[in-house]
Symmetry: D2
């Protein structure tokens, strides 16, 4: 089987493996207090254009979301996000486990707007029984979103301005940030994120590392005692250097973005094929995630060779699925998929799809 | 500097690194649902002599303790352990983070007795205001303990029988289990643990892996929905196979115990040197941890070359410290330490130490 | 000002006050372990037609919901309810404070259906990444609902059967249960609730008591250690007898239902007036809560004399509000309100309202 | 039976009952936003000599401790208290339920010292693995303590100065504050508490009210959003006015202290009798709690007429018990107890008790 179901089917980029092998027997202090972690953090600070940001390395995304949100909120406060936000629907209540409600707003494309944030917050404050409801205090966004969409710089500027005007934190989940940075049309840079977000993370797990997420904290309030929070949530890796080694490698010579560009380039090729076949999308996108709507019969056939993610049923005979490419996707596998799609979709095009989305 | 402060100063055993390199580009499902994890789990089941135990792989010890205890207890119940228990004093409240009190009993050597468990539980039940206090429901022990001591099989049998008679779970933290299994005089085996504990874990982080702990659940009640709990606590690794690869390697050809035996052998050599110099111990031990009581002047000198752990001040001129050896400790470094100890301690022996312990 | 905004504007029914005065100097054990609590519990058991149900008295509704749900769920499980459910939107995250997610389903009238429950649960179980989402385990319903609607016996039978078939608990919040029992057309009795629910509560705070909710637990699993849970959530009243005295009074000579009937009767009179004036409702109802949609101008005028609850804006010139009657509402105040409504609404009727609901 | 086991065996002081009857049918807003609560808060501010303190009314002590501590701490922080502190041993983990560890220090008399606080905090900060342990951030003391002892003004001044120097909050649990204020030798006033504590509460439940604790917050940081926290912990009483009515009555014409003085006076009479009989105490005291050490045979006899609290076994033939008087204790019952003690203890005095305390 060829896996297109996600971007964490393989191990890691070979340069990371080399670095692990090379450093294996060096003795270092534990818990991320070693020189390699310091070096990796320094490179991230440099890429963000700010030496004053705090950088912490954690193992995985859910753990990172849980730790950051728990560090930021008082008990009666909640995190605002899109209904499709990872913290809202794919973390088994990890945020609620820290005592906080996830407040959702509708979203078709995985993104939320400054206007939505303002509405929710002002409605909360105007409510005469406001103390009987959770206080919105942090806005969680994913970029790229869970639906593969990207925020424009203008959208982020608006969200940031609104959050700060209203006294909310802006937290950006960059589990797939590399793919966003490498996508056509993206106009958001790391220095932008460091300027606009109170805290964000640069995802490693899905972008070439074995595991690991680099949290960048810009807001001084959120920096305080953050390492305690990491430990309390079981996220302080004994051999913390493993995270340092991986991010030090990824942040050297633009490796992080260049390997993501490989994935996006291959995703573009799949999109071209789908476009030519007239396949509609659940949500259009430019990153390494693709959400085509395909006939059940085609999916059944495809499923014999390829693994993909089920997204949702669209109508009685069509489903939206997800293809993911990654830093490790082989060009030959993409070629095979495109060929098979063309063959399978040829007759379908004669009967156009009308999805109800 | 030469590190003897802990057993997680290096990367991992070379065979693990080889396995990571070899499998790196293989595509697998995520979250530990791959064949390698299944193979590793099967080997652990075989070593435990029971196919019916559930095996789950987590990243680190605090996370494992938090997840297991949270899975086992209802909200009003607490975990009983020694005052020196890792969950009581070195996890930044990770257990309390899940809403549970850690109930401690006194201990000089890091172990607790069946008699202590019985006393606490019966006192709780006899208390007329028992509903106003936390109900003891789980006994947490570490083997080897945080002070390097080992439970005998008889002690474990008694603890287990008492727990089960009283309706408590017995949970054994085996973060350093390998070193225990490899120690002189140890009479506890994996099948014993599988027979006597409701749940225990086989530590990888401190015994040759990059990271990872293998949880073995024998009690059917605790097996239910355990993967949900892992996810909720941020412990479900996307590339779960990394854990499988490491444990599959460690559990092949007795690697886990044989590399631990190397560490224990080197620790024995340090102990021999200390014994010859008449150095007393905070707690005597047979595993890879050594807790000698040394004069401040000697420690100052030693500290110029070696890194060790401060344990506690014993009197105005002596401190207890901890030396750790590991699977990766070099024989030449142990030799150097022993030589230096002999030189530094020679004059000291003329003025015997009388620690107040 | 005359208060129609809720059903807890006054103190308590005079018979309760008499009982408090009469028992004031009697000495009793604390924490609800007194004879009066036992008597009250016995009366509730008798009214439920089952001696085997456990009865516990708590102070308020949010506390009760929090305690019951925390007692019922394991950490990874969630409570399913209508979007308008009290636990979902009016408890400042009290359920999340216990670590549990509230899973909401759409509802126009404050009720949910067996079909909705089945859909959510089956969708969860069919999801290949089910362990990455919260497991639905308890269904929370309010009867009367937050929108003043009532479940029919058939609806409850269906919900109960579905919950039990799927292994979920059914929990009914009866904060206003008395008003439901006293409403025209209600066909649900206390024995029905004791037969169909795993746990429910009989609300006192809103039905004539100073405060207090009587939790009735029918499912043996949920009975275990419930008093620990009450204490842990700060709900164990030192002078627990106060709750016993109140419920003992309310459960004597049908007082609970007869004072509720007074409120419903007066609400019916308001509804008759509104009906005659052709006023539409946000949701039609038969209990002590009324949700008319009225022109802003009328509401401004009414607001000079009466206090009512703002429910929601319906269109540019109309809002839905809530009138509540209670066991203590004076007939003369209802008369005054009806008169004023007739006067204010007379001209409005010439221009019929077409709310977009 | 005559109850001397605690100070909450009866209902409430008659003036409170009168006030409840008198206000019963007045309509007010809910949730403590009524004029009576405002009046009560104003009186407390006046008695504290500070208009800038925030006053909130809660129902019970555990709820209050839970709410205050949850409001004050970030997730990785803990509350420091005596081993005998109510939050440490008599609240079924209610503090842990909010995610916080209770850090205990030894205490013979129920009190802790500034020196102990300093030691714990400095030891934490000096610990190289400080991030692996809970950060002490709040000091919880009870005055009177759980063992009936009182802090002197000097002790409180020292504690307060130390807490503030080290950046900790000082929280005083005044569940029995009235009895302390009314005791001989007490030199601590409400203005002192308002000056020295960041937050404290004036207990009503044990000093003449049906229920209720008045939280006084002096530190502006702790004032923020406190009502949200009350609601989140299930502590916001719908008919909040009940708390206002009670405290308004207690704070009028010195009622609170004068009814406490009654209890202390009667306790003094019991102490005189015990002293004359040569009875030793577990802890000496001056408030309404008495902890005599008595022979088992005497206690068996006493137990036929009087209810008292078991405190602890002192030796093979003696136990320490607790007698409590209250605002409602009848003089004739105290007389009877004293008479019986004299008769029962007469022969005992010939064989002096030497408890091992």
């Amino acid at each position: 089987m060829i896996y297109f179901n996600n971007d964490y089917c393989e191990g890691c980029h070979e340069k990371i493996l080399e670095a692990l092998v090379k450093t294996n027997l060096i003795q270092t202090p534990g818990y991320g207090e070693d020189d390699i972690c310091a070096s990796a953090a320094g490179k991230i600070q440099a890429l963000c254009g700010r030496e004053d940001v705090a950088v912490h390395f954690l193992v995985g995304g859910t753990q990172t979301n849980q730790t950051v949100i728990s560090a930021a909120l008082r008990p009666h406060q909640g995190a605002l996000c899109a209904v499709s936000g990872h913290i809202a629907c794919h973390e088994t209540g990890a945020i609620e486990a820290t005592g906080h409600k996830v407040l959702t707003v509708p979203s078709e494309d995985g993104k939320i707007t400054a206007r939505q944030v303002r509405q929710v917050v002002l409605a909360h404050r105007a409510d005469p029984s406001f103390e009987h409801t959770v206080q919105p205090k942090l806005v969680y966004i994913s970029n790229p979103s869970e639906l593969g969409t990207l925020y424009t710089l203008e959208e982020l500027e608006n969200l940031s301005a609104t959050c700060h005007e209203l006294g909310l934190y802006l937290f950006l989940d960059g589990a797939r940030l590399g793919y966003g940075l490498a996508s056509r049309g993206n106009d958001v840079t790391l220095p932008d994120l460091a300027r606009l977000c109170d805290v964000f993370y640069i995802g490693g797990t899905k972008v070439g590392a074995l595991f690991g997420e680099a949290v960048v904290i810009t807001n001084p309030t959120l920096k305080e005692d953050f390492r305690y929070l990491i430990k309390r949530h079981g996220g302080m890796l004994a051999k913390g250097r493993l995270l340092g080694i991986q991010f030090d490698t990824l942040m050297t010579d633009n490796l992080y973005v260049s390997i993501a560009a490989h994935a996006v380039h291959l995703a573009d090729r799949i999109r071209e094929t789908l476009d030519k076949c007239g396949v509609p999308y659940l949500v259009p996108g430019v990153t390494n995630q693709i959400f085509p709507i395909l006939p059940d019969a085609v999916l059944e056939e495809l499923g014999k060779t390829y693994v993909f993610c089920e997204q949702e049923r669209v109508d009685g005979t069509h489903r939206a699925i997800r293809f993911c490419t990654s830093w490790g996707t082989l060009e030959e596998n993409v070629q095979a998929l495109c060929d098979d799609l063309r063959i399978l979709l040829y007759p379908v095009n004669l009967q156009p799809v009308h999805p109800n989305v």
